[in-house]
């Protein structure tokens, strides 16, 4: 019988302890991903640890360093609409608004978006659908990958939360807490680059807040979707132009198991290289994989085109 116990811990410490004591436990905030995975019998949470009963986890406020602290349980809607975010981190607001639909954004949280289970066309499906693809490594611990059939190991499920690209570009940090202590981690170090073991969370650890440094200049965020306006991204591009010869960011997310930075391209961008050179270099650094919709050739062409447009637009931004 497929039942999960549902528990509402009163504090982070309690939640963390229960998570450590129950290896099958899952944290739930909005539940917009967890409940679907559970229904598809991809995860079997026991128990579900509901976080929204814990006070102060949804707050958004200035922090002592001139940046902003966003509680992990703040909804995407709350994040997108908050004056501090809209003013200081407009790309983050834009990314939050690009997620799904208003109904989902009212429940889904930024913590959930950051920790979103990596996604794959062949994984996020019902048991009936998966009968034909029963050897998926992530779904059943099987021996195959249907995205990269020639691979012998590894999983290529994608990091898919739209807010992650802007958070990497902004240089956000995560506040991680467990019953044994706490730590601060650069968000880039949070993703391990594997579709199955994709987050650097220790046993019992949870994200309690996203810490944003002081605002940078203006940039560009693009969520490219082939089809309708509900879907996950074919790719996300977040771009910050250099300021005074440094600090540019070219982040491509939702195309791999972790968000990707084109470091050498950023260096060229910092040095004032022409846009085409920056884009060509970036495309060399961003490995792309074909999915059912979105062949590698298609994604390369569109990503390069949108990156070129974004760099040109950034140039105009700087002149303003």
């Amino acid at each position: 019988m497929n039942r999960s116990f549902f528990v509402s811990p009163a504090s982070v410490g309690e939640a963390s302890r229960m998570s450590q004591e129950n290896p099958q436990a899952f944290f739930m905030a909005g539940g917009t991903d967890l409940l679907v995975l559970r229904k598809n019998k991809l995860i079997h949470p026991q128990p579900i640890l509901y976080l929204r009963g814990i006070p102060d986890l949804a707050e958004i406020r200035r922090d002592a360093n001139g940046g902003v602290r966003i509680g992990a349980c703040a909804t995407l809607h709350a994040v997108a609409k908050h004056p501090l975010i809209q003013k200081g981190y407009p790309l983050l607001a834009q990314a939050a608004l690009a997620v799904a639909s208003p109904q989902i954004r009212n429940k889904a949280t930024i913590g959930g978006n950051i920790c979103l289970n990596s996604r794959c066309w062949f994984y996020n499906r019902s048991p009936f659908w998966r009968v034909e693809y029963s050897e998926c490594r992530k779904a059943t611990g099987g021996t195959r990958c249907y995205v990269l059939p020639q691979s012998h190991k590894g999983c290529f499920a994608l990091q898919s939360g739209d807010t992650v690209g802007p958070l990497v570009a902004i240089g956000a940090k995560l506040h991680l807490v467990s019953s044994r202590g706490e730590r601060i981690l650069d968000i880039e170090d949070f993703y391990l680059g594997d579709g199955i073991r994709y987050l650097a969370l220790r046993s019992g650890e949870m994200v309690t807040a996203v810490l944003l440094p002081e605002p940078k200049g203006r940039g560009t965020f693009i969520k490219f979707r082939s089809q309708n306006n509900l879907d996950f991204a074919t790719f996300n591009l977040t771009l910050f132009p250099p300021q005074e010869g440094g600090g540019s960011r070219i982040v491509v997310s939702s195309v791999a198991s972790k968000p990707l930075r084109a470091l050498k391209a950023e260096a060229l961008f910092d040095q004032g290289a022409p846009g085409k050179e920056v884009v060509d270099q970036a495309m060399k650094e961003i490995p792309l994989v074909s999915f059912v919709r979105g062949s590698v050739e298609f994604k390369k062409q569109v990503l390069a085109a949108r990156m070129t447009e974004a760099i040109a637009a950034a140039g105009n931004l700087l002149k303003e």
């Binding site: 039942r3 066309w121 659908w129 082939s226 309708n228 509900l230 879907d231 062949s295 062409q301 569109v302």
Partner: protein, 761 residues
Amino acid sequence: MDSPRIITKRVNRPDSFAKVTGRAKFTMDLSFPGMLTGKILRSPRHHARILHLDPTPALKVPGVKAVITARDLPPVVYGFGDRRADMTVFAIDRVRYKGDEVAAVAAADEDAAHEALERIRVEYEDLPAVFDPEAAVQEGAPQLHDDSPGNIGVRIRINKGDMDRALAEAYLVREDRFDTQRVHQSYAEPYACVADWDAEGKITLYTGTMNASGLQIMLSRVLKVPVGRIRVIQSHTGGSFGSKVVLNSIYPASAVLSRITGRPVKMVYTREEEYFASRPRYAGRYYVKTAVKRDGTILGRELTFFYDAGAYCDMAAAMIIVCSHRNDSVYRIPSIRTDAKLVYTNKSPVGAYRGYGNPQNTFAFDSQLDMIAGELGLDPAEIRLRNATRSGDTTVHGWKITSCGLTEAIEQTVKASGWKAKRGKRRDLRRGIGMACTIHEVDDRHSDAFAGSNAHVEILPDGEAVIYSGEGEYGQGRDTVFCQIAAEVLGLPLESVRILLPDTDITPYALGPWGSRVTYSGGLAVARAAEEARKILLQEAANMLEANPADLHLREGKIFIRGIAQPRATVAEAAHFALFRKEGKRIRGSGQDEPATTKMDPTKQSSPCSTYSFACQAVEVEVNEQTGEVKILKVWTANDGGNILNPIGAEGQIEGQVLQGIGFAKTEEMIYRHGHLLNPDFMTSGTAGPFDAPPLDIYFTKTHDPSGPFGAKGVAEVAAPPTAAALANAIYDAVGVRIKKLPLSPENVLQAVREQGGPGR
């Protein structure tokens, strides 16, 4: 008649309050004492023999009350209505698509039902499968049905005029292939039903069907139960767009489970089941060869057409009759030669989706018409005006066009869209505009038997009126229009008229939702019923007032004597008088519409429709050749629906149709890989949503139909068909790239750009 008070005015839907407050009860909301949950076991194989089927282990699951297979039903092979019979409720010895029904369970809750399904033991032996219609008709292809060699379920060959001569005399002959994809209707409410087979042997079925009368008959045939022992009650329905006219296996399955368990049984499709096992739009492959004169006059068209039906014919057998020849009548085409094949493949069956094949046909024909115009150096609007069907025409199939706003629609579209300043002039901006036209049947006849609508209208002692009609309300606005018509005829305020959802114990037989006929045929029946009620009412009022009925008239629920400004009585008083006097009389009128049409037969000349609707549509785009993105800047529609009785409803019809048209044209596709459906959900199938809706201009032509109720026709299906062709034509105008395959997604557009010469052309 006085100028209309209620029809043609902007009024609210009678059911809107119940729906927006969440109080309207849909099938899923229904709950009965002891009710069980039912679930279907579906084949995971595309094509296989069933070697062994043992459902008994399912009964060991706690909470499971019954499990059934084909053995528990009479061995009836059926089709849609009286069409080709090739289906059984459950597979008997063979499954023919992934999703085919094998068994069903009834249990105390959904978890138990799911577990029960997992316990049913089935042993399959795979058979080779075929998924492409042209491959399926080849020699040596796997055969799905023993009595359909070459996997052809239905074949229609049409030969009218003299096509060989047309080809010989033509200045230009174009030959092109077009492909369209499967898409789902994407209605919000999935298939659902509650069945109750009671101790007296009567079956009550609650479901959101469009076709209660027809469903009652089909269920009777399949279960071998007399029609009088079956009651179908339509619940509020969350959309259908053509799908919910069929006999879904869940109806007889839940009925039989109810008989065995002695309890009501509810079955609800998951959204995934909707993709695997309901009735989406067929994928069509069109080989079109058209002959024209130098000035663009069309001489003839030859069509070879593959209709990919999936594993069983069902509704497709009726549909191919219409869609194999309907679009021949939008332009004046003197010669037609068509070979249409309904082909079996190992995929789910298909069904009706707003347009009934029209969107696919129009994509093929009107894309090619633009290609022809291009070769001749003609403006696409001009070539359409030159060939447009007009009022008074008899078309190549014998169809008599008694009213036609097509020319006005094209001229209006040209004017409103700024066509002349835009077409062929903005390629440097990668902007373009394209158009397409269509015809749609209104009230088409498919049998020699009764093919119309019945209605009763009763005036109650409190002066309110109730309408009884067997036509369904599934969001399209039947309730509104019928109440408007009755209120208009009876001189009652709209709020005083109400209507019941179909209930076959109470509402009279109606043909159902074919060819946009509900306003037309159902409306005529309601108008006649209201008129008869009116006569009875006035007679009674005359007796009550000791006046001459000819001197009385009705307005706003009151009765006036001619020449006297003050009302003499209320309708309520007259109704009360009638009912409660000695030898009292109900005020109940009956009305019927039986269309004066002949059975549709594409191979002969016939007059199968009461009338025809027309439309023209233009789409303006901006194309990004680097990314394949096509931004729709605006859509202009000009629609001939006759006299528009319900403007808000009609506008809603157009808005919904254009959005569905955009989905079909651009964003939606059911993707099959080796027969396996990859994307069974809204998100990844690309269903268009509110944020995909473009700016939209809606125009209704000033057409009055001589026989429709108050001059009305139908608008339900006339604005969806042109969008895909108009969009493809607009993309061609913008970047000189011609795409003959849907959807016009960024990936497909980019591929076409690459193949046809790269950006910067």
